[in-house]
């Protein structure tokens, strides 16, 4: 059963310059114990999607519509009181920057205890024991002493471990991880990721992993959603997306991955930058940057449709499948050819 089912989620912000449609009709679902990766460039609506699910967007200038069913209940229509009992309890979130996500004036112990006491009717003593247990679980050395330290006494990786401990302390069903490894160095990234997967097995948590790092997705995700400019470009299992991608944007992302076996002077990149969501391009939003652009792309918005060989694999592109298969072949061979 799906823990979270998002359908047609739309979130827009009112700004001084006009309405920004940051998320424009996004749908996906996550199964218990599985990991969904959401990938895309900066500013394509990944984080806003997460914040909308959590109800953490600024209420004064944000409008969300659609559905986000968590264990059957729509989070978007829930009262803020009800939502609060879920937040940090059954749905938890890890943020991008561990350096600023912990309050500098409280000990980490206090911040962990707060998370427990908000949702569990336990004494401070028990909450502290629970906090200690989690700190050990996320691999903080000498946790019994470090629990009374302040965030500034921890390194970035250690702080992110604390954040993970805080998120998992009430054994949530769903964990939203918003680029949890972006601010960390590569070695620490690998540690944090393996920590998350092992904790996921232990707690059977569903994880939504937001990232722009396809390497991270390949490593831990079961399913992938590729987002571009507030819309889903392609959606499918991790195998499908990596072996038979059907959207030129995904090709671009995959093509720009650094490869150990290729000897290139410069990394391949997608030309241009993501469009302003204040005034998105007509038709397919990717068309100004797409090397395969056709006339239809400039006027008709492509629908997100299943590909013929797999009903779970969805993509939104006008290009015919025959050309796509050829291009995928070229993409895979092309990089191989460069390597040899």
């Amino acid at each position: 059963m799906a823990v979270l089912e998002v359908s047609d989620l739309r979130t827009s912000f009112r700004t001084d310059d006009g309405v920004v449609k940051a998320v424009d009709g996004v749908s996906f679902s996550v199964e218990r114990g599985k990991t969904l990766g959401i990938v895309g460039e900066s500013g394509c609506g990944k984080s806003v999607t997460c914040l909308s699910i959590m109800g953490l967007n600024n209420r004064q200038n944000t409008i969300s519509s659609g559905e986000a069913r968590f264990n059957g209940e729509n989070l978007l229509e829930m009262s803020s009181r009800k939502l609060r009992t879920l937040r940090g309890n059954e749905i938890a979130m890890i943020f991008q920057d561990p350096m600023t996500s912990l309050n500098p004036v409280h000990t980490i112990g206090r911040q962990l205890v707060e998370a427990v006491m908000l949702h569990r009717d336990v004494t401070k003593r028990d909450a502290r024991l629970r906090a200690l247990e989690l700190l050990k679980a996320v691999g903080i050395p000498r946790a019994d002493r470090r629990i009374d330290d302040y965030p500034h006494q921890f390194s970035g990786g250690m702080r992110q471990r604390v954040m993970i401990a805080m998120a998992l302390i009430n054994e949530p069903d769903l964990l939203l991880a918003d680029e949890p490894t972006t601010a960390l160095d590569v070695t620490t990234q690998a540690q944090i990721l393996s920590l998350m997967t092992s904790l996921q097995e232990e707690f059977e948590t569903a994880i939504i992993m937001i990232t722009h790092d396809l390497g991270v997705v390949a490593e831990i995700a079961d399913d992938v959603v590729v987002m571009y400019a507030g819309k889903v470009a392609e959606e499918g299992t991790v195998d499908e997306i990596f072996t038979r991608p059907y959207h030129p944007y995904t090709w671009g992302l995959l093509g720009s991955l650094p490869r150990l076996d290729a000897d290139l002077d410069r990394l391949v990149q997608i030309q241009g930058s993501p469009p302003s969501l204040l005034n998105p391009p007509r038709g397919c939003r990717f068309h100004p940057r797409c090397p395969y652009v056709m006339n239809v792309c400039r006027s008709v918005v492509p629908e997100l449709l299943p590909v013929s060989h797999s009903p779970q694999h969805l993509q939104a592109c006008h290009l015919d499948e025959e050309t796509k298969d050829q291009e995928v072949q070229k993409l895979l061979e092309g990089t191989l050819a460069e390597a040899s």
Binding site: L56, R87, G88, F95, L102, N103, P104, E114, A115, H152
Partner: protein, 309 residues
């Protein structure tokens, strides 16, 4: 220490280059040139400025004495010690006034931006910032003191030694109400803005979002994650403001004829009474140095990042 030397030297030099003849003033109107000469000798005004300064330092370090007034030969230590408590009472009382006023207004207007309270607060800020204390003082004195006869307009009641007319804590507070309010308004306005800006900034911090993500109710988010963090910079500024104001709240003291440092410095300046001015300068410099230290220590208590290990 360096600060202290610099400040006193500057006071001496400025005094020296000002075209004035303190000896003639001190000797009185009918004095002959010989009298003036004698007075100058006695006050060591005939010596070069660096010798005068050396003597001043020597006295200060050796005898902890600030010297004697040129005008009435009173001990400057006494003058300063008599005036300081008045200014102290004004400043600390005023600080309590302005904090009790600005903290709630600042926080509420930060939490409800563009609300009625926020707008009313901003009007208050505008008035407080634009209105000169003298003007506010006169308005207060006229309406509250004179028309409504609610409070005394001038004078100071000693807290500890009741004289025949007035004295004791009640009279003291009664006499200070108007000066406190007048003095506090400018700062209250400044602090409302300061606190509002700080709270709003803290509300956008990542750790506040973390607290919300934990499922904390808004009141708890504000209480334990916003307020303390946003008060950190206020502590520094408060310390500096109090220290500066202790050097004499000249306007407020003048309006309400409070015998504090500000009024004293004004009087002494009119009489070119260098030792008294220098004494007050020394005192306020000390205040600033001491308060800086206090602020630093306090900061270490409030902000764990600065704690010394």
């Amino acid at each position: 220490m360096v600060l202290f030397l610099a400040v006193t030297v500057v006071t001496y030099v400025i005094f020296y280059v000002t075209p004035s003849d303190p000896a003639r003033l001190a000797a009185g109107q009918g004095a002959t040139p010989e009298d003036v000469q004698r007075v100058a000798e006695r006050l060591h005004l005939d010596e070069p400025v660096w010798e005068q300064y050396g003597r001043f330092l020597w006295q200060l370090v050796g005898e902890q004495s600030l010297g004697e007034s040129f005008v009435n030969r009173q001990d400057v230590n006494d003058i300063v010690l008599r005036a300081a408590p008045v200014t102290g009472a004004l400043v600390f009382g005023g600080a309590i006034f302005w904090l009790t006023l600005s903290i709630p207004i600042g926080i509420i207007s930060a939490l409800r931006p563009r609300s009625l309270i926020d707008r009313a607060g901003m009007v208050f800020v505008l008035i407080g910032l634009s209105a000169h204390p003298v003007w506010i003082g006169l308005i207060f004195a006229y309406f509250i003191g004179y028309k409504l006869e609610l409070t005394p307009i001038t004078g100071y009641a000693d807290f500890f030694n009741p004289s025949q007319e007035h004295g004791g804590p009640v009279q003291w507070a009664y006499h200070m109400i108007l000066p406190w309010s007048t003095f506090a308004i400018l700062f209250a306005a400044l602090y409302v803005r300061l606190i509002r800006a700080n709270v709003m900034e803290t509300m956008n911090e990542d750790f506040v979002r973390t607290a919300r993500a934990k499922g904390a109710p808004e009141s708890q988010v504000i209480r334990s994650h916003v307020l303390r963090n946003s008060m950190l910079p206020i502590v520094t500024i408060l310390g500096m403001d109090i220290a500066l104001a202790l050097g004499g709240a000249i306007f407020t003291e003048s309006i309400y004829s409070l015998p504090g440092l500000g009024r004293q410095v004004l009087q002494s300046y009119e009489n070119f009474d260098l030792p008294v001015i220098q004494g007050i300068v020394v005192f306020s410099t000390l205040c600033i140095i001491v308060f800086n230290l206090i602020v630093d220590l306090l900061y270490a208590v409030v902000d764990p990042r600065i704690r010394l290990t």
